[in-house]
Symmetry: C2
Subunit: 328 residues, 2 copies
């Protein structure tokens, strides 16, 4: 039914080895190469990648494991990873874990069965803590969330610094009662919280914070409750783009003016943030570059398996918009 390399060899009047070499790297005379190409065209031959991978022991596959591709941060990263991968002639297997430990374990096992070349992974805190890369059999680059220091390759944002950037900005704009909303499953939330607390401390201010599950709905609900408190903040640091959606919905529902009654500054310069309300002040993460860098680190690790784990820390850029206008 389907045409094999043997058929091409027959059609070209050469051996299968020659066809393989003509299609790949091996030394082949021009005349035979031409014959082979003609035979490939004539027969409509398509190499069987499973067979090639089995024999060559190179899967040319990288795994990308994120919590949810619908999170624009991961969407952008995934696009960067895929661009880089296809440029290198590799394919990408994408997995969504929903921050679920079982799914993380499941997909890591799948990666082993695929004999992937490497994996780019945004793990939960728990998995990052217990992850033993050497036992896995392929290199791993963590993104967005770093594990225990010095154990893994990683490319992350300087989360503490970025959070401090937001705090300093809000303080400079005249806000004093600054609250924070952070995710409770990843190291990212914890780091941003730490930077948030440290920065407020420097200013001699309190640092009230709430921790929520990683979804817009959870953020909306948490903030809805908070806004009913007597001591509600007059400015808010929001730990990611999903939370920003929830925050804005809660604010809309409570009919609060932004920034008049509640200033907002958050993470992720998602497409819509310049359009919501007065425009949102945000930290822009170099999303595409994060993906590109992760891919590059993976390749370097493959070239040099022995080198010490490296952590690339990228810095966020503060984009100021109406939601943090000076306090009136």
């Amino acid at each position: 039914m389907t045409v094999r390399i043997k058929d091409v060899a027959q059609a070209a009047g050469v051996s299968v080895a020659t066809v393989s070499r003509a299609l790949g790297e091996g030394p082949v005379s021009d005349s035979l190469r031409k014959k082979v190409e003609a035979a490939v065209a004539a027969t409509g031959y398509r190499p069987n990648l499973s067979a090639r991978r089995l024999r060559s022991q190179h899967s040319q596959t990288i795994g990308l494991i994120v919590s949810d591709i619908r999170n624009p941060f991961f969407t952008a990263v995934s696009r960067a990873v895929e661009d880089a991968a296809y440029q290198l002639g590799m394919r990408v297997i994408l997995c969504n874990t929903d921050e679920n430990l079982d799914k993380e374990a499941l997909y890591l096992r799948l990666m082993q069965e695929e004999r992937v070349t490497g994996v780019i992974f945004a793990p939960t805190r728990e998995t990052a803590a217990t992850l033993d890369v050497d036992a896995l059999g392929f290199p791993v680059v963590l993104i967005d969330r770093a594990g225990p220091p010095g154990r893994h390759d990683a490319v992350v944002l300087d989360n503490a610094e970025a959070a401090a950037l937001l705090v300093d900005h809000l303080v400079a704009q005249g806000y004093r009662r600054i609250g924070g909303l952070f995710g409770n499953t990843s190291t990212t939330g914890a780091e941003r919280h730490a930077g948030f607390v440290a920065a407020l401390q420097r200013h001699g201010l309190e640092a009230p914070a709430r921790f929520v599950a990683p979804s817009a709905a959870a953020a909306e609900q948490a903030l809805g409750l908070w806004l009913r408190d007597a001591d509600r903040p007059d400015a808010l640091v929001v730990s990611n783009g999903l939370f920003l959606l929830g925050v804005l919905r809660a604010v809309k529902h409570a009919e609060l003016a932004v920034p008049g009654e509640l200033a907002i500054a958050g993470f992720d310069n998602d497409d819509w943030t310049d359009l919501a309300g007065p425009g949102l002040t945000v930290i822009e993460q170099p999303v595409y570059e994060i993906g590109r860098t992760a891919m590059a680190m993976l390749m370097e690790r493959l070239d040099n398996p022995a080198q010490l784990p490296r952590k690339v820390v990228l810095t966020g850029r503060l984009v100021t918009r109406g939601s943090s206008r000076p306090r009136g």
Copy 2:
């Protein structure tokens, strides 16, 4: 180095065939199955999927080819496809074509080399027109954009009807000078335009339209020009979520009131559309269901290769918000 099925067999004191059967479907006595499972655990065996695929001739892989995963419509569809696939024990290969014909051809060839089980594909108009599914060797389900009638399995929105829904709504709200902004590369844009024109004709109104490349920037620029025209519309039908972003930016730049000076109604109930300006009136596509249905159709086609091509047409839901309030 890596442990093979042969090593497991040795450790368990059985033949490789028995190990294979114990791990798969074959009939194996309970006692041996237990032994095999113990040996698998002891050795840390992971089956090699390339070898399995080569021998069994089942790749358990489906291809998903879209224009850009960063388009939230495709993001949502991809999540649905992946959920369904992993539930069935299949892998997904995701490709971004950027509406580029060469990339489309390239990735279709890649799918052949992967010997994929099937492909879910959002093609450009040109590729859809020339696509010969039978020559490909695997079933294809088109999404979002249908090809020539009766030739392919497809799951699409009733685009003309949805566009008409928007037009009827705007007319009912009192708008008369209604313009349209449509994409120029896909059949989707064309169908929505057709529904737009037909609906306006029913109302005895003109149907001024602009066609632009599929990006927010292109929409922004086109509308920027249009808004300077003397005969600019007082309401706008916008053909997709990306364009909505561009439209809102142009409107903001021109400092027009929405809906006072320009009412807006568009496609795609993206996460942010309830938060921008007065809230955007949109057609909500059943995005997750589109992905799920495409996957289901693929499975049915595999069960029954001979059946005639089917086109599933889903209907959009009108979500009315502030951007189309009755004309004052």
